[in-house]
Symmetry: C2
Subunit: 215 residues, 2 copies
């Protein structure tokens, strides 16, 4: 399958299983604190074995194409753990996962699993919005001695904010589909009303300061 074809197909699948929700009047609050009229719950795909497998294949394809030097896979906890280890299994590579912060009990680890020094690692992420969770995980891996060569994600919102942050960190990233494709497919399936389109555009322009419409 061509990448663009896969991207459209995957966006359709996400809409078909109801993973994408638009709620401009009851916006979602992301872990970054930003408010969002859209929510994309990729974790739902874990409950669909065939779709789940296609996603693993898609992520492996991105990694083989863009990061052929890879020797280990890391998942960003918690949402990146499941597809991360499935990718590691398909590629027969070591796996570890990275917590947002060190655990408060037991061994107080932030990285679970074992890294080799200078091992080229690809991070697997669920969704890239601000990019901060991926970049925090990459930093933790680097501090532990790994070489993070890139990030692959199921979905990216392709915000300028994130692009710049990844560029600054010199960390390339690729995703199976993105915000524009999701909205394009959504429009085809159930055309958005003009006010919803305006809301989504407004949010897209400046997600950090977006506020829900007053009712």
């Amino acid at each position: 399958m061509q990448d663009n074809t896969f991207s459209l197909w995957f966006a359709e699948q996400l809409l078909d299983i109801g993973a994408v929700r638009l709620q401009p009047n009851q916006p979602f609050r992301w872990s970054s604190g930003w408010l969002s009229p859209i929510y994309c719950d990729n974790r739902l795909t874990l409950s669909y074995p065939q779709l789940r497998k296609q996603i693993t294949r898609g992520l492996c394809k991105l990694i083989r194409e863009y990061f052929p030097s890879v020797e280990g896979i890391a998942g960003v906890a918690t949402a990146g753990i499941a597809q991360g280890v499935l990718v590691a299994d398909m590629m027969d590579l070591p796996f570890c996962y990275v917590r947002p912060k060190p655990k408060e009990h037991g061994t107080a680890s932030q990285i679970e699993g074992r890294l080799q020094a200078q091992q080229p690692i690809v991070l697997v992420e669920d969704l890239i919005s601000t990019g901060s969770s991926s970049l925090r995980a990459a930093q933790a891996l680097q501090q532990a001695g790994a070489r993070v060569v890139g990030v692959v994600a199921m979905v990216s919102y392709d915000f300028n904010h994130a692009r710049q942050a990844f560029e600054q960190a010199q960390l390339p990233y690729y995703s199976l589909t993105n915000y524009d494709t999701l909205i394009q497919v959504w429009q085809k399936q159930q055309p958005l009303q003009a006010d919803m389109e305006a809301i989504l555009n407004g949010w897209r322009q400046d997600p950090a300061h977006w506020q829900p419409p007053s009712r």
Copy 2:
């Protein structure tokens, strides 16, 4: 492989990769608050692709043998997510995972993924000590309408406390290896000194009230 053979082999593997640590003078504090002279970091196995695969096979074997009615797999977050989804992949079943408590942002979910009502679910757990994390996860699944038929884990400490709690919850559980096998294999590899043996026995008798030896 016989189950007992697998149990010994797996305990050896855990010791070989340094997943088991004895630190009576600097005890570990579990999430339950209990102090422990032993720590078993099964997450390290994720970094060893062959061992990881044998564990997945072992867990699938337990599930096929004891819970043949299974229609879905749930992982206890975070440590049970990785082997949980690998088991789901090998058995071609839906997967979800259960957080210790509902997420504080986004959709505020405790269960990630999608369940069908009355679906027979097997929980995959990393390690059973007090049993409370498994039982809490089982309860969350039941409240969401699932039917939890049992729990499989990599390691169990086989405490009376846990046995009774699982019995009371009418939830059968099985593990690939257990505390006695780990200590038996440890003794064979590097005989424990008498005082360490006494410490481990004392802890085993009453883990809830154990205190490290005064120096």
